[in-house]
Symmetry: C2
Subunit: 210 residues, 2 copies
């Protein structure tokens, strides 16, 4: 596929997702969920700036717009990067394996490419974590007519993070480098720590204001 | 806006979401999350049909493809319906209120339109519930190379359901018809019952197979 997934229409992207090819799959859907979270956070920030009663928070929300606009762009680009993340693994498996040297080179390349396939969704995990930290910071500070959008944004970014984490984890059993694997596992555990709890609390706090 | 949101590019949709207009907002993002869930379920079903070892399940997965394709189309159409769901409320508020009769007619129309604004996201909730029931039915039955996509699909559809539920609930305080409100609240509680638990279990069950 030469054209970019992010340039498909929304309807076309979903049709492509539903089709009988493995890519785009859950990894790309996770990036899009994260991008929706960042986009909603940016919207709430924009809907707060210039509104009466929120003057003191303008510098804060202007900063969040810059950060969230960068993150939704990064996550939108990751939709395509994730769809291609496994291409390297597949190409490595097609390398020749006639001699012992070829076999060794092929195995090394396969291992290298499995790491790439794990690191792309890890980039998505990290970006979603940044989105969630910002949404937790925004909390109930924004335009009260858009509070539900903070909550929906947080739910989307959390789904993006969890979906991407699954796409990191699914590659780990194929990787032999134990230090790499345990570092990935450690980072995921650290990022996930208390996150469900914090986001559930944010959603409850927002619902109580309806 | 004359053009449909579902016809925007993925990147364009996120930019539109992040912009300083209230629509599209969290309600539309919830529909898209649900559509991603249905799309991933359809993909896994398609990736299972025709594969060795899954012959006995072909009739089951063929049925799921039909159901999930309908649901991702419905949810994609709801992206636009949700973005317009509040237009009726805003138009009703602009009705004349010079005489007592006009005031009464305006109030009645406002109430009617608030119900519409609650029923559109309720349609999204119901569609996401159908997607989740199907994904729970699919469970770990599908192509084992696509199991993580079932999990990511379920996380997306659950976020779609929860996001849409917030958009039902945010309209309820404006509605005076107590019977309508309590019926909405009852239906949401029934749909949500045990759902987090079931989806968490599905994700754990799938992760254990990595």
């Amino acid at each position: 596929m030469n054209s970019l997934l992010k340039d498909l229409t929304v309807e076309g992207f979903i049709q492509e997702l539903a089709s009988d090819s493995a890519a785009p799959g859950g990894g790309s859907a996770a990036c899009l969920a994260g991008a929706l979270g960042a986009g909603l956070g940016a919207m709430v920030s924009r809907l707060t700036i210039g509104k009466k009663g929120y003057e003191a928070l303008e510098p804060f929300f202007k900063e969040k717009i810059v950060e969230l606009d960068e993150l939704h762009k990064e996550l939108t680009d990751l939709i395509d990067k994730d769809a291609n993340a496994f291409n390297g693994v597949m190409a490595a498996f097609k390398l020749p394996k006639n001699t012992d040297e070829e076999k060794a080179a092929r195995s090394a390349k396969i291992q290298e490419e499995y790491k790439v396939a794990a690191l792309v969704p890890m980039t998505t995990v990290r970006a979603c974590k940044k989105v969630l930290d910002i949404l937790l910071e925004i909390g109930t500070k924004g335009n009260k007519n858009a509070l539900s959008d903070v909550a929906v944004g947080a739910l989307n970014a959390l789904t993006g993070l969890k979906g991407a984490a699954l796409n990191v984890e699914i590659n780990l059993p194929s990787i032999k480098d134990e230090a790499f694997k345990s570092e990935m596992t450690r980072e995921l555990a650290e990022i996930m720590s208390n996150l469900d709890y914090k986001i559930s609390n944010l959603v409850i706090e927002i619902r109580d204001l309806f």
